[in-house]
Symmetry: C2
Subunit: 229 residues, 2 copies
Amino acid sequence: MPKSPEDTMPTSGRHEMPFTRIEIVVLSVIEGRLGVLLGRRAQAPYQGRWALPGGVLRIDQDKDLDAAARRVGIERLGVELPYLRQLTAIGGRSRDPRAPWTLSVIYRALVPFEAIDPNPGKRLEALKWVAADEAAADARLAFDHAERIGGALEVTRGEIDRLELPFEFLPQAFTLGELQACCEAMLGRHLDKSSFRRRLDERNLLEAVEGQMRTGAFRPAQLYRRRCP
Amino acid sequence: MPKSPEDTMPTSGRHEMPFTRIEIVVLSVIEGRLGVLLGRRAQAPYQGRWALPGGVLRIDQDKDLDAAARRVGIERLGVELPYLRQLTAIGGRSRDPRAPWTLSVIYRALVPFEAIDPNPGKRLEALKWVAADEAAADARLAFDHAERIGGALEVTRGEIDRLELPFEFLPQAFTLGELQACCEAMLGRHLDKSSFRRRLDERNLLEAVEGQMRTGAFRPAQLYRRRCP
DNA sequence: GGGCATAGTTGCGATGTGCTACTAAGTGGT
DNA sequence: ACCACTTAGTAGCACATCGCAACTATGCCC
């Protein structure tokens, strides 16, 4: 058995290191449904297939993993991704035929879909929004990305269940109806109005914007905003 | 802004990759308390300080990250770690002065403390068990390991709260009292006997080993085992 | 046989949450 | 003027979960 003491010096090149990437599961609510952003691969492997946007970790540029994910978001999508959360790391042989061993750190971002221009220029390939649940079950996606999307959905829905609210998808001031519809879109299921509201104000998560109402075709609704987090 | 298209070929050496390690938070229940296994560092940095056991990812040996964690467990601790769970990845500049950029994938293992011999031989440095809550608050630990231990505790206690039971720490057949004591040790707080039992059998997690009782100084107790998982 | 420590059960009350039903307040059609 | 319609917002009840306290049961030991 090879010796491998704790203090093996990480002299550069002593051991080969994995080819390390960042992949981002970008979620948004579009027309009442949760969508995920995919990019079409221009080259092999999986040429022409849809995949999560991602990029190579650049240790010369990135201060840490979070910074790497932010840079990848800007370079590949043209947007700052403010609400990044790391989900997991996946690594192994033969994940990507271009390198003997690859490691991907998976992030999740929540971004209003209008913020991303699907065709910003030549250096970015085609992007599209896809219904998240279908993407998670779509075996045709590149690599193991369908599974990664499934993991992101589970985590994200857990957050909504625990009333970690998706303010990213809402205007500064919003009605309780809008908030509920947004949560329902993310969960993919109906929520009960009265218990949703009871849970909200037991937790003191919101404050009413006094005097301000959303007026529309029907009865005006009180506007709320996030209580100083 | 540098171009960084999706399909940058991972030609080995085109970009420098981070020095990648595995660190393992090994937890056990010892004398009614949750403990974590630490090793004393033999060399700089943090020479003489206590740290999580870990090792370098070896892409020539390890099929994937989980396999790397298993190998590190065997090489550094002399045990198979069957219940490994990946927690997170941490990476950045200046985490470890020996390399410009390091990435650590953190695992958690649950192992009965008797399974690990603190002094198995020369190639392993001194190991010791420390009360987990104290280690999580101990700023003297090497690197950011105290914080990692805190994260492991949070995840592990969440599992117990959701009644993902720590069979790793129990014999094949055990009493409900033993199970409850084990959970209490892990959570660091008291559990109510009657509601603990109610929750257990609502979920059908256990089955009685018919006719078998644990006899001791007092009233014998029914033995249970895990219901076919 | 009685004390004692653990095993195991029962009942109650507090809490959280889903369901149903209700009232309120606007628009727009007749 | 009135009513249908739609959304906003509230109230009451049923049910499940769970903590707490009290109780019974059963063995060992003195």
